[in-house]
């Protein structure tokens, strides 16, 4: 019962976020970048549902556009981390020997390093922009994928059914793709879900620091950062973006829990 509740609430929250992001791609109530100095810092009203910011830009439109940016960055980053992680993980688990040993010591060293710090380091080099974040966070999170994939490959590659596939004359690559890789899908799905949450949080934290998506492009993180000077006089500026981040993360966490319960029986009660 609890499980279905998690899926339902989590799914609904994430559904709303995705829908908002998609809608923002084609329509927002106002242009999220349109400065209107006559409508500065207006509280929520019929005209501006969530009020306006210090440049008179509509907060609702910016929240919607921000959803688009955050979701895009998170999806790209997770895809990047998964692709890099799967390739390296399969190579390490398949080739074994020295390649594996070197790959895995580098990987473990990266894992023994706070992700956000690694991302900050990469941001120093690539500079603050949307694709810089994808690269920085992708590199920070790929090592966990490598670890999971390699582990699965190692545990499966000598099983009888993989052996049987080789016996009947299937090539190594075919056997890997057809019989070994499908075993990685469940753990990767679980990991990707929580990764989506981490990336979203890290991106908003970086944007909050001014090292993420640069203004004027709206993201929930840089909107929060911009709201600080007006915290007392224009409270609505700080409430909406924060709520959005929190609800998205809650959705991801709930969805992640139910996905893990379903796909990974070993962790069913965690």
């Amino acid at each position: 019962m609890k499980l279905r509740g998690n899926t339902l609430v989590g799914g609904t929250l994430i559904g709303i976020v995705l829908l908002t992001a998609l809608t923002a791609a084609v329509w927002t109530p106002y242009n999220p970048l349109q400065v209107n100095l006559r409508a500065r810092l207006k509280p929520p009203s019929d005209l501006y549902w969530l009020g306006t910011d210090e440049f008179g830009r509509d907060v609702l439109s910016r929240i919607m556009a921000g959803a688009g940016t955050s979701v895009l960055v998170a999806l790209l980053t997770v895809t990047f981390a998964v692709v890099v992680g799967v390739i390296l993980g399969v190579v390490a688990g398949y080739v074994r020997g020295w390649t594996d040993r070197i790959l895995m010591s580098v990987n473990d060293a990266l894992l023994a390093f706070p992700g956000i710090l690694l991302a900050l380091g990469v941001m120093v080099v690539v500079g603050a922009n949307k694709y810089g974040i994808v690269l920085a966070l992708g590199l920070a999170y790929a090592p966990s994928v490598v670890r999971v994939v390699r582990g699965t490959v190692l545990s499966v590659r000598e099983r009888e059914y993989v052996e049987a596939s080789r016996m009947i004359g299937n090539g190594e690559i075919y056997s890997m793709v057809r019989h070994v890789m499908p075993n990685c899908i469940a753990p990767i799905a679980v990991l990707s879900t929580s990764m989506f949450g981490w990336v979203l949080l890290s991106e908003s934290a970086l944007s909050f620091l001014g090292l993420g998506v640069p203004p004027p492009a709206p993201t929930w993180g840089n909107m929060l950062a911009a709201s600080r000077p007006y915290m007392e006089t224009a409270t609505w500026l700080g409430i909406a973006p924060g709520l959005c981040i929190a609800f998205t993360l809650l959705g991801i966490n709930l969805l992640g829990d139910s996905l893990r319960d379903r796909l990974d029986p070993r962790m069913a009660h965690a």
């Binding site: 609890k2 706070p114 700080g238 993360l249």
Partner: protein, 314 residues
């Protein structure tokens, strides 16, 4: 025991070496000439060549790395470009601010989260468990910087109970210092309670299923004693490892919290130096934080056999 310690120590060396290589390479990957950046655009070419030689930038890369590493090993991380001060003392001063906050927050979080997780596991799938898990999941979903801003708004601006901006060192005025770091600590504690409670609950559930717990109950021990004497010690070990990871991660991500509360900590120093293109300080901060992270996890791992004696037998 000794071999466990040695093995664990040996394991940190490649990590530290890799971190050093990464930090060394990172600064060299930055587009543009570092000397030009340090001296500004107006520098005269002779001066640039002179500085390049002084910094050893004319040497081949591996030689540069060796030179740099030998300096780092004795604590010479160079001087800040912005104010000319040596990097290491600067970082240590800033680290004291961040370190105190992170340590106290993790301690508070553990004191609340471990019993809460145990309680939830004990009442698994009952209303109390559901309430604790829901609470933990919600706390887990609130970004630190937003929670910090909200608390600041409520206790600092609306109620006026606590100071909003600034920091007083402990050496200056203990009471005042405490007043300034209450909110940052509460913020961090609340967020970390979420992760820790879930971990300690999961670990306790694993332990509660084991035969020896059933046995303890069968021989008539009161529930209180079963939990405290038999479940808690074994369930604590995984949480202990998590505490190490959290300590390190918090230190890496503390810049955000320090920005919210305008604290002069290590994270803020790193971010400010990134903006100021003060690369010796950036390099130093990255290296220093990574070193602390590795050391914290080393200490945590070395203490692990105290909670789970099976480990060193492996």
């Amino acid at each position: 025991m000794l071999s466990y310690i040695l093995r664990r120590l040996a394991f940190t060396i490649p990590t530290l070496l890799l971190v050093a290589i990464a930090v060394f390479t990172l600064v060299r990957l930055i587009p543009g000439d570092p000397v030009q950046l340090m001296l500004g655009d107006a520098a005269d070419p002779a001066q640039v060549t002179e500085m390049r030689r002084a910094l050893g930038l004319e040497e081949p890369l591996p030689v540069q790395f060796a030179l740099w590493l030998s300096k780092v090993a004795v604590g010479d991380l160079g001087n800040s470009i912005s104010n000319g001060l040596p990097v290491l003392p600067l970082m240590i001063e800033r680290f004291q601010v961040s370190g105190v906050i992170v340590l106290l927050a993790v301690l508070c979080a553990a004191l609340i989260a471990v019993p809460a997780g145990l309680l939830a596991a004990w009442r698994q799938n009952q209303p109390l468990d559901l309430a604790i898990v829901t609470g933990a999941t919600m706390l887990l979903s609130i970004p630190t910087f937003w929670l910090g801003l909200l608390l600041l708004l409520l206790f600092g601006l609306k109620l006026g109970w606590l100071p909003v901006v600034g920091y007083v060192p402990f050496s200056e005025n203990f009471g005042q210092a405490l007043l300034y770091i209450v909110l940052p600590i509460v913020t961090l504690t609340m967020v970390e309670i979420g992760v820790m409670t879930r971990m300690s609950r999961a670990a306790a559930i694993d332990v509660l299923r084991l035969d020896y717990v059933t046995h303890a109950r069968a021989k008539g021990l009161p529930e209180r004693r079963v939990l405290m004497r038999h479940v808690l010690p074994n369930a604590f070990a995984p949480t202990w490892t998590l505490i190490g990871l959290i300590l390190g991660n918090l230190l890496g991500g503390i810049a955000v919290l320090e920005t919210v509360f305008t604290l002069p900590g290590l994270g803020r120093l790193l971010v400010d130096s990134i903006f100021a293109r003060d690369y010796p300080v950036v390099q130093g901060c990255l290296l220093f934080t990574a070193l602390i992270y590795v050391l914290v996890n080393l200490v945590v791992d070395l203490c692990y056999p105290l909670f789970d004696p099976r480990v060193q037998a492996e």
